[in-house]
Structure formats: structure tokens, C-alpha cells
Subunit: 336 residues, 2 copies
């Protein structure tokens, strides 16, 4: 087993001091051009790798960030993840990924683990039921944090998210434009800021347009759950002519359930989803949805974190991505 190549070793071969090699590694302008060249040559020859862990010990920057998501099966989060990764790679940082499974205890454990690994900062999509006290703890730990997609302790940290109030508004206004009056909302049982925001958006849009709230039905966040909720939606006192759904997965499940109940989505009842995941194009009928571009949110979150890592005391900032309505066939036939 050949021994590890260290700064020391490179220095010896290049005939300079450790400190000089260190400067070269960090691309300091202090070192003379010809020395730099020689050292770089030697580094290449010896296949030297800069040990970032050792460096962090001294200078306190691990070029590492933690990312905590509540879930890895929903492609909304994975697209988000993809956006984060892209920016971090560009920034030459590495992403430590962890899945909280929407469990605050697990989330705590993950944060401790990340702390132990010396991450420079964390992007957090808070687990359902997270105690807002967590933010103070992070502050005490001096761990820079950006929240995303879900927010606890509104406005206390940087935040990147989508404008779901506007998103639901787009959906409702679209339906009203088509002539709908009685609109239902298919929500979820999980208590997150994501849910609250959409409900607020729904109420607001109804008031704005004068449409009638045909009822809010809750389902677990799976397509099966949504399929089962179809019956409950069809049984609402004032039967809705259109349904806005918490997200595309629920919308897809709902359409399945509706069709099983003999009610054809897009003809007998209109359905609109939120998020515009790829699957929205593959359902039958293709699903009208409001695009939330999770990858762009991921990019925004990553940029917010980079900014904060570079400028310690920067003011708290929010990046809210504007949603966009994407018309497909689950809604759109003009009504009477």
C-alpha cells in the first residue's frame, strides 16, 4: 500500500515548503508564476488530492452542505434535489443528503449527524410537526440554514419556495373562466405550511372570483387515498363541477377514482392539479396543472445558502418562484 500523498510530500519533491504548496492549492496570487507551475506539475505527477477534511479542521469551511427532505419518492422533491445539486456542484460544494421521512425526531438526529460532519450550512424542508424551537437551536449552534418548500417560524430564516397562494389562484380563476361555479378542493391530512398556504389560496381565490366553496375533502398523500376520496367528493352536498387538488399525485389518483365511479374527468367534472410533475402529461386525460418548477426552487434555495455562506450577516431573504398554468385535457371544455 503506497503511502498517502500529502502537502509535505509534494513540497519535498517540488523543493519548496508545505506552506507554499498550500498557497498553490488555494490558488493564492501570492505565489510566483514559475513556482506555481512547478508545484502544479508535481501535484499532477504524484496525483495529489487536497484533503478537505484536514483543511476544514484549520480553517472551518468544509465545502459541504446538508440537505434534508421529508421524502424521496415524490418526484417534486427529487426535482428540487436536482436543482440544489446542480448549483452546489458548480460551487464546488458537496451535498450530504438525508431523508427525514417527515419525522421530527429523525430530523433532529440527522442535524446532529450533519453537525458532527461539520457541514457549512443546511437546506431544510422541515418535517411535519417540527417544533419551531428548532430554529433557535440551530441559531445557537451557529449553523446557517435556508428553509425551503415548507416553512416553520415564518420569516425567521432565508426561504425559497413556490407561491402556492397564487398557484391555487391560477387554478381557480382558470376554472371560473371556464364557467365553473362550484369548486371543491382535495387537500391532505398532513399539517404543513404547504397545506396551509394552499388552503389560504383557495379561500382567497373563491372570494376574489365569487365562486362557491363546494367543500374541502382530505386524503392521505397517496394516489390510492385520492382515488378513494372520489366518492366523498361526488357525495358533497353541493356537488362540485370542478376540483382543485393539493398536487398532481392526488389529482391523478382522483381521476382514477372518478372514472371508476363512472364520472369522466375533463367531461363530467374538471380536475386541476398543482406542481405539473412529469406524470401530469401521462395521466388520462392529461392533467391541467400549475407548474411550480421544483428544480428552480432548488436552485434558488442553493443560491440563498451560498449567499449566506459568503456573507455572514446578510439580511434574511425570500425567493418565491412564480407558478404558471399549464392547460391540458382534464379541464377546458367550455361549460354552458
Amino acid at each position: 500500500m503506497p503511502k498517502k500523498i500529502t502537502l509535505q510530500e509534494v513540497a519535498r519533491v517540488a523543493g519548496v515548503s508545505r506552506a507554499t504548496v498550500s498557497l498553490v492549492v488555494r490558488k493564492s496570487p501570492l505565489v510566483a508564476a514559475h513556482t506555481r507551475e512547478k508545484v502544479e506539475q508535481v501535484m499532477a505527477d504524484l496525483d495529489y488530492v487536497h484533503d478537505i477534511g484536514a483543511a476544514r479542521l484549520r480553517n472551518n469551511s468544509s465545502r459541504t452542505v446538508g440537505l434534508i427532505v421529508p421524502n424521496l419518492v415524490n418526484s417534486f422533491f427529487t426535482e428540487f434535489l436536482s436543482g440544489v445539486d446542480r448549483v452546489m456542484e458548480q460551487d464546488d460544494r458537496v451535498v450530504l443528503l438525508a431523508n427525514s421521512h417527515d419525522d421530527p425526531a429523525r430530523q433532529d438526529a440527522i442535524l446532529q449527524r450533519f453537525r458532527g460532519h461539520g457541514v457549512d450550512g443546511v437546506i431544510l424542508c422541515a418535517a411535519e410537526g417540527t417544533d419551531p424551537e428548532l430554529l433557535h437551536k440551530l441559531q445557537r449552534w451557529n449553523l446557517p440554514i435556508v428553509q425551503s418548500l415548507r416553512e416553520i417560524g415564518k420569516g425567521q430564516t432565508d426561504y425559497a419556495g413556490a407561491d402556492y397562494i397564487e398557484g391555487v389562484g391560477l387554478a381557480v380563476r382558470h376554472l371560473v373562466d371556464l364557467g365553473h361555479h362550484r369548486i371543491a378542493f382535495l387537500s391532505v391530512t398532513a399539517l404543513t405550511s404547504a397545506r396551509e398556504e394552499r388552503l389560504v389560496g383557495f379561500a382567497k381565490a373563491l372570494k376574489q372570483t365569487g365562486a362557491e366553496d363546494a367543500g374541502i375533502v382530505e386524503a392521505p398523500l397517496t394516489w390510492e387515498g385520492a382515488a378513494q376520496s372520489a366518492a366523498r367528493i361526488l357525495a358533497l352536498d353541493s356537488r362540485p363541477t370542478a376540483v382543485v387538488c393539493f398536487n398532481d399525485v392526488l389529482a391523478a389518483g382522483l381521476m382514477l377514482g372518478l372514472r371508476q365511479a363512472g364520472c369522466e374527468p375533463g367531461r363530467d367534472i374538471d380536475v386541476v392539479g398543482l406542481d405539473d410533475l412529469p406524470l401530469a402529461q401521462l395521466t388520462y386525460p392529461p392533467l391541467t396543472s400549475v407548474a411550480m418548477t421544483p428544480d428552480r426552487i432548488g436552485v434558488a434555495a442553493a443560491q440563498l445558502l451560498s449567499r449566506r455562506l459568503n456573507a455572514e450577516g446578510a439580511a434574511i431573504e425570500r425567493a418565491i418562484i412564480k407558478p404558471q398554468l399549464v392547460l391540458r385535457e382534464s379541464s377546458g371544455r367550455k361549460l354552458g
Copy 2:
């Protein structure tokens, strides 16, 4: 800014030496019960966090593994990822995630970055076109590696994957059982072991069952590409009565394209996918698919890596997950 709590500090407060605290942290049986208790109390009081980076510097184990995937939008990979993460969390390791975007150069850069961060090992889903020489490089670097889902240099490293030969076989046999004779295969353009394996499986299954190869059509790995390939499939010399698809995304796209061409999947032509992603349940008609349980593959890959990290010189091992046919409505009506 309160100064960082270190072993030294804990030792001072507890009235013991640094070394003793270190032993407590690592749960060594050497330390006396009452000392251990006192030290643990102090650690809790001071909110001490074990600096794993510093530890690694001395003992060479970072409790960190790298995971490289070629893609983060395909939910096959994210379920895989989810499985890996679960095992690693249990094992108290942290996952460094990176996306190679199927680009070998980027993949190289990622490996260098991981090396700099001192990962204990890597799980690699090799990018398309990766030079098999890479394996030797990794060996020289002394970096333990497990390949998964895609394999370069067959049999040279641990590998976890699905049995796509058998998977395609299940699909074909199912179709033949239904009475199909002329079966086409919708493949992809990307040159990976994943593709080769399926083509082998297709050829083998045809021979086995005596069914006729109605043609192999290639599409880019997107549902749009697959939709466009529908026309080409319908125009094959010997028009197929059933199509087996590279994966569910292509199958879903294909069904869309077929329907646009006035050909109803599940009635006029049967379609079978591979992978059984969640979306297979949401397409119309619901897609018959062969379940590859990517999360289980992820679990297997993670376990292989753990094993290797614990036992340096272990023999090379392969974990091949058995596929399972899931019947839905895109195939199944008995033919003449």
C-alpha cells in the same frame, strides 16, 4: 460567539483526561462505569458534538459514502437512492450525493471531489460511456466501490442490480401466454449495460417461447420520444400485436402515441413496461409492468458496501434482485 466544545473542554469539566473522554465517545469497554456516566453527563450538559472530520484525520474512517447516479429525474433512481439512504442512516453513515448527468468527465470530477472529502467508499451507477479503465484507477486509489444498476468491467467489483434478462423474459412469456406471436421491443439509444441486458433478455425469451421478433425500435429516454416512436412501431413490416418497453416511462409515452394514432393500448395492442414505477398505476390504461423494486436494489447495494468496508478483503459479491410481473390493463385480454 461561544467557543466550540471540544474533547479537551469536556475533559476539563469532567476532571479527566482527553483520552478518557475519547474512549467514552467511542463506547470503549475500557472505561469504568462511574467515569463513563460522569463524562456522558458533562457531554450532554455542554452539548458536545463529536467532530467526525477531526477523528477521520487520525483514524481514517469518515463514516461517509459517495453515491453517484446518472440522473435524478427518473424515479427509478430516486427510489434506489431512497433505499441506499435508509441503510446508510441505520449504519450511521452519511451519503454524499452527486449527479453525473451521464457524463463521464463530470463523473471523474465527482470522484475526485469525493476523494478529497475522504469518503470511505462509493456506490456508482456508471455514466454512459464510462471507460472501464476507471475501475483500475479506483483500485489504485484504494477506494472501495460497489457498482449498481449499470455495470462496467463485468464482475470486477461488487454489484447490485436487477435481473433484467429474467424481467424481459417474464414480460415476453406473459404475452405469449396471452396468445401473442409477434412482439416488438421498444429500446433506447443510450449505450449502457442496462440496455444490453434487456436486449439479451428479449432475444433469449423469443427463442425460448418461439415468438417472432417483430422488430426493435429505438427512442430517446423520454416519454415524448416514446410517443413519437409509436408510428414507427405500427409501421413495422410484421406488425406487432404487443410491445415490451425498456421501462415504464417509455411505455407510458408509447401508449400515448399509440392512442393518438388511433390504436388503443390494451385492446388493439398490448403494452408491457419494465420497472413498475408508481406512474404505471396512473397511466391509462394502467400499465402491466415488471417490478424491479429499485429501493431493494438500493438496500442491497448499500449492504454490499457496508460489508466491504467492514471486511477489507472479502470476495467479490453480486446481489441480483428477482423481478416480478404485475398485471394491469395494458395487457391481458386473451387473444383469439
